[in-house]
Symmetry: C2
Subunit: 218 residues, 2 copies
Amino acid sequence: MNKKTDETINKIKKSNKTRERLLEKAEHLFAQKGYHAVSVREITAAARCNMASVNYHFKNKKNLYVEVFRSRWVPRELLMYETFEKSVDSLNDPVPKLIVQSLVRAYIEGPLSDEEFKMHRQLIVRELNNPTEAFELVADQTMRPLFKKLYGLLNDFAPENIDEGNLSFDIMSIFGIILYFNYSRPMISRITGKPYDADFKARLIEHMVRFSLNGLGV
Amino acid sequence: MNKKTDETINKIKKSNKTRERLLEKAEHLFAQKGYHAVSVREITAAARCNMASVNYHFKNKKNLYVEVFRSRWVPRELLMYETFEKSVDSLNDPVPKLIVQSLVRAYIEGPLSDEEFKMHRQLIVRELNNPTEAFELVADQTMRPLFKKLYGLLNDFAPENIDEGNLSFDIMSIFGIILYFNYSRPMISRITGKPYDADFKARLIEHMVRFSLNGLGV
DNA sequence: TTGACTTTAAAACGACCGTTTGAAATAAGT
DNA sequence: ACTTATTTCAAACGGTCGTTTTAAAGTCAA
């Protein structure tokens, strides 16, 4: 009886699926410190499993890193994309203001927690700055679809007397602003001297929508 | 005679000042790969000197990294700042359009080579994403002054019926766009499918000025 | 319960890490 | 030219890295 209980406890404790725990802990650590600053020992210790599990489940450290993007990052990004898509598709009158508002809200407030969002952005900024194998995955499966969707939505409102490439640049700039205000929080706090609290965040979203809309010049 | 000649050649070859060569090579490698992905052995090999030189001149690897920012990054950033300052101070009529144009040109075309610029931005993006000791240095000596300068210049043109913090946000967004279009070149190339050549760059600058100006809403 | 298969565990592998040592080479001062 | 201080060097230090090995534990159909 006692033995059985102990086994049950252990099962719950490790909640099974070493593979999943490895992916979760690896993602947090890679985001926090970067690929080379995190050791396999550190990851497996956090996941409360043996070092060899990394090699068993993912063959090696690099594959674990790529798999973090494939099975965690991309689906999470697609979740935000769907939030945006649903929001924008339900609009009676999809004018640029409402499109951009849907976009910023989906990708800043979004369906993710604050901490999850921070981690998510840290990972992608590392990839943008130093692309690895994971970059192609992310670009093809999440960025290009979002870009095309936005292009289709905003194209009808673009001034006629303008190069075709300009809307691409505009969309890129909006991407950039969304990304920037997440990954540069330390700088913003240091320069403005204000905390990144709920009030600050609300005003930030308001700003981003306004600035992006103005930037579009529609 | 032969001996003397050889010595002279060696002197020129190593061009003296191991310390300077270490800083230069270290900067390139840190920018390219990141702090943890670069070893002291790699740096000293590139600088054609002994491994112990790092400890002799900088005490340890971390200090070398910080010193790269202190003696190379910050002065280079200040060079761009001065380019901007001179440009904007010489304006007869410093309207926002000309201010932003001066800014973008100084920080995108700037006085730096393309490669130097890329390195410069890679280093700061790493710091923004994962601040270290070097971050405070950079924020205090380069970012805050630029921010204050821009605030002073643009404040006169800000709409009156607007929060005081909004201009801060606007300046941040312009910072963000300038930064973004440098560090996300791989993504831009992949999504737009166009090369980052001279023509592309020229249109990019034009876009950034227009988008930022529109964003300001002045 | 058996037996084939999957998953986890502890220990050890060689390689490379940042740092230190102590002596040799060079430069500078007198 | 001799002494002193500065700079560079090869070699080795203890430690940690990613990966592998070998064996035990768990899982599940027959």
